[in-house]
C-alpha cells in the first residue's frame, strides 16, 4: 500500500499552472492559418523548429536555460512532427537575444532554414518558476501562440511538456501525448507482472505483484483503472486494478477462459473472450451487474477485441476460415466483415483513436510485423520489416504513434514508431517486456 501511495505522488505530480493566453489577436490569426498535418502521408516533411536556450531573468537556476530548451526539443522531436535544429548554428547569444517580434531578426532565422522559432524566458524565485514562451512563424514574422506558466520549479519538465503540447496543438490542431503512460507485461522469473511507465519509457512502476501470470493490460477510458488477465487464483480471470490506489476487483471469473479485455469507449462495459459455452467467443460484459451477452460466436476461435472510438464497431481475430484473420463487427447489425486477406496469420488488432486505421500483427515467413489497414480492408501498409518479431500494436491517443513489442534486439521489449514508419525508438530497458497498451490522456485540456 505504501508503494502505491508513493507512486501516487509521482504519478500525478502534475504542475498546477496558470496558463495565460496573451495576444488574443495573434492566437486568433494562428487558428485561421492552421493546416491539417497528416504525418501518415509519405509526402510529409518534418517541420524545422529553432529553440534557442531560454533566457534567465534572475540569477537563480541558470542551468535550466539549456535543460528546458533541450527537453522542449526532445519532446517536439518525439512527436514526429518537428525536427529541432542544432543550436550550434544559431547566430545570436540566447541570453541577449530579443523576446518580441519587433526584436527578432526573422531574416536570419529564415536563412538558417527554420520554419518556427520558440523564444522563452523564465524566472526562478525560491521554489517558484515563471515561464514565458512565444512561438513565432518565421516566414511571416508573426507570433502564433504565447503562454505564461507558473508553478513549482521542481516540476519544470511537466511545464515544458505542456508547452510542447501547446505548440503541437497550435500547428497541427492535435495535442501530444506527454501526459500519457503505457501499461505492459514484464517477465519476473517464472511470473509475469503488470507495469506502467511514462510515454517515453521513463519512470517504470510495478502494478501487480502476485507472482502469477498477469497478461493483457487494458486501460479504462478514465485512465485510472486497468483491466488485466491473471492466473493468480488458478484459472485465467479478468481483474481490474486502480493504478493510483492498487485496489483490485474481479471483473469476470466464468468457467473456462476469461481473457482479452477491452473497455467499450464511453461505457463501463467491456468486450472479452470467454469459453463459458465451450469455444472461445467474444462477449460484452457488464461488471456492474455481472451480466453478459454474446457479440461474436462461431465454432472457431474468436479473440482480441478492439473497439472503434465510437464504440459501435469491434475489430477482432477469428480463425473461422482456418487461419487467424482480422474481422470487423458492426455491433448493432451483427454484420461481420473480414478485412485481412494477405498472409495466413493476422492477429492483435488495435483500432486507432481517430477511427481511421486498424493496426495489427501479421506473420509472413515466420516473422511477425506491424501493419496498418483501413477499417474497410483497403490501403494495407507494412510498418516493420522483419527485424525480429513485432507484436501487440497499441496507438498513442493522438494517433501519431504505435507502440509494440519487438525482439529486434534479443529479448522482447517495448518500441514505438510513427505511423509513417519512421521515428523508431526503444522505450523499455533491460528485461523482457510485452503486451503494451497506451493510456488515454490523463489531463483534459
Amino acid at each position: 500500500m505504501k508503494r502505491f501511495s508513493q507512486r501516487r505522488a509521482v504519478h500525478i505530480a502534475r504542475v498546477l499552472l496558470i496558463s495565460v493566453v496573451f495576444g488574443l489577436f495573434c492566437a486568433g490569426t494562428a487558428w485561421s492559418q492552421r493546416i491539417h498535418i497528416d504525418i501518415t502521408q509519405p509526402s510529409f516533411q518534418q517541420i524545422s523548429i529553432a529553440i534557442p536556450d531560454f533566457k534567465f531573468l534572475s540569477a537563480q537556476s541558470p542551468q535550466l536555460a539549456r535543460q528546458m530548451a533541450q527537453t522542449l526539443g526532445q519532446s517536439l522531436e518525439y512527436s514526429g512532427v518537428f525536427r529541432p535544429m542544432d543550436p550550434r548554428g544559431f547566430l545570436e547569444d540566447p541570453q541577449s537575444m530579443g523576446m518580441t517580434a519587433g526584436e527578432i531578426r526573422f531574416h536570419d532565422w529564415r536563412r538558417l532554414g527554420a520554419d518556427y522559432l520558440v523564444r522563452s524566458s523564465y524566472e526562478v524565485r525560491g521554489e517558484e518558476l515563471r515561464l514565458e514562451a512565444r512561438l513565432f512563424d518565421v516566414l511571416s514574422g508573426r507570433m502564433v501562440v504565447g503562454r505564461v506558466y507558473e508553478g513549482e520549479s521542481r516540476n519544470w519538465q511537466s511545464m515544458v511538456h505542456r508547452l510542447a503540447d501547446e505548440i503541437l496543438y497550435a500547428i497541427t490542431g492535435e495535442r501530444g501525448v506527454f501526459d500519457t503512460k503505457l501499461a505492459y507485461v514484464q517477465v519476473k522469473g517464472n511470473a509475469k507482472e503488470i507495469f506502467i511507465c511514462d510515454f517515453d519509457g521513463g519512470n517504470p512502476q510495478q502494478v501487480t505483484s502476485n507472482g502469477s501470470l498477469n497478461l493483457s493490460p487494458s486501460w479504462h477510458p478514465n485512465g485510472s483503472e486497468l483491466a488485466f488477465v491473471s492466473y493468480k487464483e488458478g484459472a485465467a480471470k479478468i481483474y481490474s486494478v486502480n493504478v493510483f490506489t492498487g485496489s483490485e476487483r474481479l471483473l469476470s471469473g466464468h468457467k473456462g477462459l476469461n481473457i482479452a479485455p477491452a473497455w467499450r469507449p464511453g461505457t463501463s462495459q467491456l468486450a472479452a473472450t470467454l469459453s463459458i459455452s465451450g469455444s472461445p467467443d467474444i462477449y460484452l460484459l457488464s461488471p456492474a451487474d455481472g451480466s453478459y451477452q454474446k457479440l461474436v460466436h462461431s465454432w472457431a476461435i474468436n479473440v482480441s477485441p478492439s473497439w472503434s472510438p465510437d464504440g459501435k464497431r469491434l475489430a477482432y481475430v477469428s480463425n473461422e476460415t482456418g487461419s487467424p484473420q482480422i474481422y470487423v463487427l458492426d455491433v448493432s447489425t451483427g454484420e461481420k466483415r473480414r478485412i485481412t486477406f494477405s498472409g495466413r496469420y493476422n492477429t492483435s488488432p488495435a483500432w486507432s483513436p481517430k477511427g481511421d486505421w486498424i493496426a495489427f500483427s501479421g506473420s509472413k515467413d515466420g516473422r511477425h510485423n506491424i501493419f496498418i489497414v483501413r477499417p474497410d480492408g483497403s490501403d494495407l501498409r507494412q510498418l516493420t520489416h522483419g527485424e525480429g518479431n513485432n507484436e501487440s500494436p497499441t496507438w498513442s491517443p493522438d494517433g501519431r504513434m504505435i507502440a509494440f513489442s519487438s525482439t529486434r534486439q534479443g529479448d522482447s521489449s517495448i518500441w514505438v514508431l510513427l505511423t509513417n514508419g519512421t521515428g523508431l525508438r526503444r522505450l523499455t530497458g533491460e528485461g523482457v517486456q510485452e503486451m503494451p497498451h497506451w493510456s488515454p490522456r490523463f489531463r483534459s485540456n
Binding site: 517464472n190 511470473a191 509475469k192 507472482g211 502469477s212 501470470l213 497478461l215 493483457s216 488477465v229 492466473y231 493468480k232 488458478g234 484459472a235 485465467a236 473456462g256 477462459l257 481473457i259 482479452a260 473472450t273 469459453s275 465451450g278 469455444s279 472461445p280 476461435i301 474468436n302 479473440v303 482480441s304 481475430v317 480463425n319 487461419s323 487467424p324 496469420y345 492477429t347 492483435s348 500483427s361 506473420s363 515466420g366 511477425h368 507484436e391 501487440s392 510485452e434 503486451m435
Partner: protein, 190 residues
C-alpha cells in the same frame, strides 16, 4: 524467539520429508486440485503432498486400491499417464492419429481408475501471438477432453486450462522445440 525458531526447524524438516515422499510418488507435477498454475508448484506440492500423506489410506481406498502391489501398479501407470503428452500441428487443435492413440491409452487408465480427476492443460509454441494462443490452447485442451468424453470417460472428472504460450518446455527457436511446446499436458489430481 528460540522456540519459534525450533518450531520452524521442525516444520521445515517435516516439510522436507513430506516433499520427498511426494517426489517419490510423483514426478514434479502439481498434485493438489486448485494449484493448477505451475508458478505455484513450489508451494502447492509441499502443502498438497502433506495433505495426501496424512490421508493416504483413505485416498487409496477411494481409488479402489488396497494392496501394495496395486499401489505400485497405479503409481507406475499414473506416471506414464502424466508423462505422455498429446501433440498438435502449428495453429491446429485437430487430433492426429498418433494423438488419438495416446488418448485411447489414457481412456484405458481412466476407466481402470474412474475416481481420479484430470486437469488437461493446453499449450502452444511461441511463434503465434500471446492472446490468440491462449484461445488456441483452450481449444487443444477441449479437443483432448471431448475425445475422452466421447470414449466414455466421465466429463465431471475432467477440467481444462489453457496456458497459451506462457509455459513452454522447450526454449529453442527451431521446429523441434516448437513441436514439443504444442501439446496437451495431463495432470492427475487424486
Amino acid at each position: 524467539m528460540s522456540r519459534s525458531l525450533r518450531g520452524l526447524a521442525v516444520f521445515a524438516l517435516l516439510a522436507l520429508v513430506v516433499m520427498s515422499v511426494g517426489a517419490c510418488a510423483k514426478k514434479g507435477v502439481p498434485t493438489a486440485p486448485g494449484f493448477g498454475d505451475p508458478a505455484y508448484t513450489g508451494v502447492g506440492e509441499g502443502i498438497g503432498a502433506g495433505a495426501y500423506a496424512g490421508m493416504e489410506d483413505v485416498r487409496w481406498r477411494e481409488l479402489g486400491i488396497t494392496s501394495e502391489s496395486e499401489k505400485r501398479e497405479f503409481l507406475a501407470k499414473a506416471e506414464a499417464f502424466e508423462n505422455r503428452n498429446v501433440y498438435f500441428d502449428f495453429d491446429s487443435y485437430m487430433l492426429s492419429d498418433p494423438a488419438k492413440r495416446i488418448l485411447d491409452e489414457k481412456a484405458v487408465f481412466l476407466r481402470q481408475y474412474p475416481r481420479v480427476r484430470v486437469t488437461i492443460e493446453g499449450h502452444c509454441d511461441t511463434r503465434g501471438t500471446a492472446e490468440y494462443n491462449l484461445a488456441l490452447g483452450e481449444r487443444r485442451a477441449n479437443s483432448a477432453m471431448q475425445y475422452l468424453v466421447n470414449s466414455g470417460i466421465n466429463g465431471q472428472n475432467l477440467t481444462t486450462i489453457s496456458y497459451g504460450e506462457e509455459r513452454p518446455v522447450a526454449f529453442g527457436d527451431d521446429e523441434a522445440s516448437h513441436a514439443k511446446n504444442r501439446r496437451a499436458h495431463f495432470v492427475l489430481n487424486y
